[in-house]
């Protein structure tokens, strides 16, 4: 009863700056998506609003989900973390069943639920971060003990990574494993363990690249986009051209050319190229700064957190979003080879939007606790 009253007081104390950034990102993202997708929507679905409507629906659902998450007691979240991990693994395994998994892009990454396709691998990053924060907090006094604290965490991380890898999503697998390694790094894992883990990843990644020749091709086309301008390097070249057209101030919102056919799937992973063309370098900087503010807010929650759980969870969730931003922007600018990582809230994709908004809700939840001195909610 006492806790309930405390919650009521705290409710008004969630970080309003963070909230503002979240609103701005969601609004900007959906606008950019509409500009990038209306032409394609008209051609592909006979409806220029097709992608906008879809995205708005998911923003609505995601906001509700985030709102709920922002109000759940932390203890409740922690209690349900392990079942959540199990459900996530289960849903991901469903993609291997041919009748449920929806094939696209050479891999079953989607499952159909009530007519909507859902990408369960998007859940993995949240499940993993929450699980790691939960366990590492619980076992915080056993950090030196390899078998008791590190191994369970590492096993879950490896299982998740493997599941995602076999959905033919190599880049997401790398992203997820890197995320867990960095969490372990910040959590204070012994350096020698970390080094071992890192070398393990490299040892696994190299043969995995070799197994699928198209990955080498992607890396090759990233290094030499002009060697095959109509094939694998095509998107990269078109994205670069769009960015060049943008110059400092851009061609104007809605006036971009590249989305009119030059850049395949402009509304998807390469939406940032459209943003660059239409709003120029200033628009790019604006969005990057928005995300940076978001990240700093998130990390400050991690710094001020009441307990190790909140700190690690806030750190992990903030990183989960910000890493995607960095990877996607690096791909669009040609600094990294093409991957399937979307730009959160900008790229069309229901699951990604839904999960990102859920993460926002969790961060708001943590920020409330970060501001209260009254209660120690971090218990097992």
């Amino acid at each position: 009863m006492r806790r309930f009253e405390a919650d009521k007081i705290i409710m008004n104390m969630s970080d309003s700056g963070l909230k503002g950034v979240m609103f701005l990102l969601t609004g900007t993202g959906v606008s950019a998506l509409f500009s990038a997708s209306y032409h394609f929507g008209r051609i592909a679905a006979n409806n220029p609003f097709y992608f906008l409507n879809k995205q708005l629906l998911w923003i609505f659902l995601g906001s509700f989900f985030g709102f709920v998450l922002s109000r759940l007691p932390i203890a409740f979240i922690r209690k349900w973390t392990v079942p959540f991990v199990i459900v996530t693994v289960f849903l991901n395994l469903l993609t291997y069943i041919p009748s449920v998994g929806s094939h696209s892009g050479g891999a079953a990454r989607w499952i159909e639920i009530a007519g909507q396709s859902f990408q369960p691998s998007e859940l993995v990053r949240v499940a993993l971060v929450l699980y790691m924060a939960h366990i590492l907090d619980k076992k915080k006094d056993d950090m030196e003990d390899l078998f008791n604290s590190v191994l369970p965490v590492l096993i879950v991380a490896i299982v998740m990574t493997t599941i995602v890898y076999f959905q033919n999503d190599f880049s997401s697998a790398i992203y997820i494993f890197a995320l867990s390694l960095i969490m372990l790094f910040v959590a204070g894992l012994k350096g020698s363990y970390l080094l071992g883990g890192f070398l393990g990843v490299v040892a696994c990644a190299v043969p995995m690249i070799m197994v699928k020749p198209y990955r080498i091709e992607r890396i090759h086309s990233w290094l030499h986009p002009f060697s095959d301008p109509s094939g694998a390097g095509y998107q990269l070249l078109k994205a670069k051209m769009a960015l060049q057209n943008g110059k400092l101030w851009g061609l104007g919102i809605g006036r971009g050319q590249i989305k009119l056919g030059g850049l395949p799937a402009a509304h998807s992973d390469f939406v940032f190229a459209v943003v660059g063309e239409e709003t120029g370098f200033m628009g790019i900087v604006f969005i990057l700064v928005l995300y940076l503010v978001f990240a700093l807010k998130g990390y400050s929650i991690a710094m001020k957190g009441e307990c190790k759980y909140i700190r690690l969870a806030a750190f992990g969730l903030t990183s989960a979003v910000y890493f995607q931003v960095l990877i996607n922007m690096a791909v669009v600018s040609g600094a990294l080879p093409a991957t399937g990582i979307p730009l959160p809230l900008f790229s069309a994709g229901g699951t990604s939007t839904f999960v990102t908004l859920g993460i926002f809700g969790l961060l708001l939840n943590f920020s409330r606790f970060a501001k209260t001195e009254k209660e120690m909610a971090c218990y097992d």
């Binding site: 592909a44 679905a45 204070g188 051209m241 060049q244 056919g261 370098f281 790019i284 600018s333």
Partner: protein, 630 residues
């Protein structure tokens, strides 16, 4: 902070690295977006912005034009159901369903792919209907530059074709790619740049007639290949250029490499007896023989040195007895030609053939032109000189042969063959006008003249090998040839594979056209050039002569001036009676009645079908003319 909590030192390291990465990313974007003159992207091929120039015939008739066609593209991550997508698309685009599905499932191409490029407007229409009915996520239509060849197979080997990226791959499209589509210097902006137009020397009418004749002959003789070329005797311009089998450049990929081969330029073969005109001209020019010299061809050509080395003698098909130089050509005597070759040195003969252009490319702007094979005189064997003189042991291209014949029609001067008439800029300015180009004087005007006259005998004489090309009232000079093809497997002469050919020039007195017909490996009863190629020459001469203003005396055709007379209008003079208006157009009626003051009552449009009063009636003050048009 305690060791069991998050490691603040590591956290700081992490944040610093994150800042550096973010800053680097901003710099990366700044470099791409703000750096002036960043040329890496500008060097990229700019396929869509260049509108390739057209290709026209000498009279401006369109042979190749740029179009904007749809390409079907797929973005595989967007696909919902690959099986359905493949099924629908294969139906509309007439593609193989299993093959298409295999492409969709190919793990190496899991992003963007072209499903079918440059589809026809019909396919595009059907696909749009389909996309309105069923959702095909990931499938889209993109406008791309396409190439259309309205005359289809006409002169296709000459014109060539263009690949899907708007790059010429063969023929003029290939050699003049930079002219038709100059490399673009601007990037990014949507301004369409235009390439230059190319006018060929080809005349579509002549080309069409020649192709019709060639196709009929192809049907009849079922040869491996058949080539006919018609050239302006005085300028070296090609009027027609036919190579069968041919292909439709609109759809070039569905034809085999053999069908796309530009044989007149690329095929090297032994010319056979047609070569004798160049050999005899050489011997005359070198002073070895004179037209009135006689040769006893009763026995085979078998000099002592042949006997010594057991070289088989050179023989004739028949017994021709004593022949003069003209007689050698008329009967196509191998023995006579071989005897004549004894009057000159090998090196001189070789130099003369070089001067005729053998062993070198003619320089025509077509890809893959053959040099032919002409060994230097040093490499010649004892047998070489007489053998080359009768058209063996030498490899030529059809282009070399017809070009060499310009020596006889230009007082001994060799011309450069012309296929391009002019290049015109998009603004209509003539950028390059290709003029008649002489290469060198090969023989004296007298030798050229006498060869023409001797060749005329080969056509007009009753024993002449080209007598089947006779056209009453037209003087034709001609020479036939039949050569065995070397079997590429055995390296010896094949018994079945022959090249039958005739080279003809007409009219003899003032040559206007050179015609060369080559039939490779005819399947009919005869393989002799004189027998099967001569009728084709006759048909060409009969059909083309009126078109080129060449008089055939029997037909009493008058040489017409180059200006075209438009028939004067069918105007009526109105006097005292009503004229007959029936069948006249409304325009003409109104023009005729312009100066009269007869009241008119006109009904309908078109031509007069009814009039009142009828023709012949007197015109008075009360006359009103009623005309009904249909």
């Amino acid at each position: 902070m305690s060791s069991n909590d998050i490691n603040s030192q590591r956290f700081r390291i992490f944040l610093i690295i994150l800042f550096i990465v973010t800053a680097a990313l901003i710099v990366q974007y700044a470099v791409i977006m703000l750096a002036p003159g960043n040329s890496s992207v500008k060097d990229a091929p700019q396929f869509p912005n260049m509108e390739r120039g057209g290709i026209y015939d000498r009279n401006g008739r369109l042979l190749a034009i740029q179009t904007r066609l749809d390409s079907v593209t797929g973005w595989i991550p967007e696909f919902k159901n690959k099986e359905n997508t493949a099924r629908y698309l294969s139906e509309v685009l007439s593609l193989d369903e299993t093959e298409l599905l295999a492409r969709f499932n190919d793990p190496t191409r899991q992003g963007f792919l072209y499903i079918k490029r440059l589809i026809s407007p019909t396919e595009s229409h059907n696909l749009k209907i389909l996309m309105g009915e069923v959702k095909l996520p990931g499938i889209r239509l993109e406008k791309e530059q396409g190439r259309n060849y309205p005359e289809k197979e006409l002169a296709s080997h000459l014109i060539g074709y263009v690949g899907t990226d708007n790059t010429g791959l063969d023929g003029i499209e290939y050699t003049f790619n930079q002219i038709l589509a100059p490399p673009s210097i601007t990037t990014g902006d949507e301004k369409i740049l235009y390439g230059n137009d190319i006018y060929l020397t080809i005349d579509v009418n002549t080309q069409y007639i020649t192709e019709q004749i060639a196709r009929r002959a192809f049907e009849e003789h079922k040869p491996e290949s058949l080539m006919i070329m018609v050239m302006d005797a005085k300028t070296g311009e090609f009027y027609s250029y036919v190579s069968l089998p041919s292909f439709d450049p609109n759809n070039f990929s569905s034809y085999s490499r053999e069908e796309r081969n530009n044989l007149p330029a690329t095929l090297t073969y032994e010319p056979g007896s047609v070569m004798k005109i160049f050999s005899l001209a050489s011997f005359m020019e070198l002073g070895g023989i004179k037209p009135q010299d006689t040769f006893d061809t009763s026995n085979s050509y078998n000099p002592d040195i042949f006997k010594k080395y057991k070289i088989p003698p050179i023989t004739d098909l028949g017994q021709y007895g004593v022949l003069d130089t003209t007689g050698i050509l008329v009967h196509s005597s191998n023995v006579g030609t071989a005897m004549a070759s004894d009057t000159v040195r090998s090196i001189d003969h070789y130099n003369m053939l070089k001067n005729f252009g053998f062993g070198n490319k003619t320089g025509i702007p077509l890809p893959g032109e053959s040099n032919g094979i002409l060994n230097t005189a040093k490499k010649w064997s004892i047998r070489s000189k007489p053998t080359i003189a009768i058209g063996q042991e030498i490899g030529v291209s059809a282009l070399q042969m017809i070009t060499a014949a310009t020596v006889f029609t230009n007082s001994g001067i060799l011309l450069k063959p012309k296929i391009i008439d002019k290049v015109v800029s998009p603004e209509g300015k003539i950028i390059k006008d290709y003029k008649r180009e002489s290469v060198r004087e090969v023989v004296s005007p007298e030798v050229a003249e006498s060869i023409l006259l001797m060749m005329e005998q080969a056509v007009s004489s009753p024993q002449g090998t080209v007598r089947r090309a006779q056209v009453p009232g037209l003087r034709i000079s001609g020479k036939s040839g039949t050569a065995q093809r070397i079997d590429p497997e055995t390296g010896t002469y094949s018994d079945e594979d022959f090249m039958a050919s005739v080279l003809a020039i007409f009219p003899t007195e003032d040559p206007k056209l050179i015609v060369y017909v080559i039939i490779e490996d005819p399947k009919g009863q005869s393989y002799y050039g004189g027998r099967i190629a001569s009728p084709i020459v006759k048909e060409l001469a009969e059909t083309l002569s009126p078109y080129y203003g060449i008089a055939i005396e029997d037909n009493q055709l008058l040489e017409h001036s180059s200006s075209v007379i438009i028939p004067s209008r069918n105007f009526l003079k109105i006097d005292s009676t009503i004229p007959d208006f029936k069948g006249m157009s409304k325009r003409d009626v109104l023009f005729s009645l312009d100066n009269s003051d007869i009241p008119l009552n006109l009904k309908g449009e078109g031509w007069v079908v009814f009039q009142f009063p009828p023709a012949g009636e007197e015109i008075n003050d009360e006359t009103t003319l009623y005309l009904e048009f249909k």
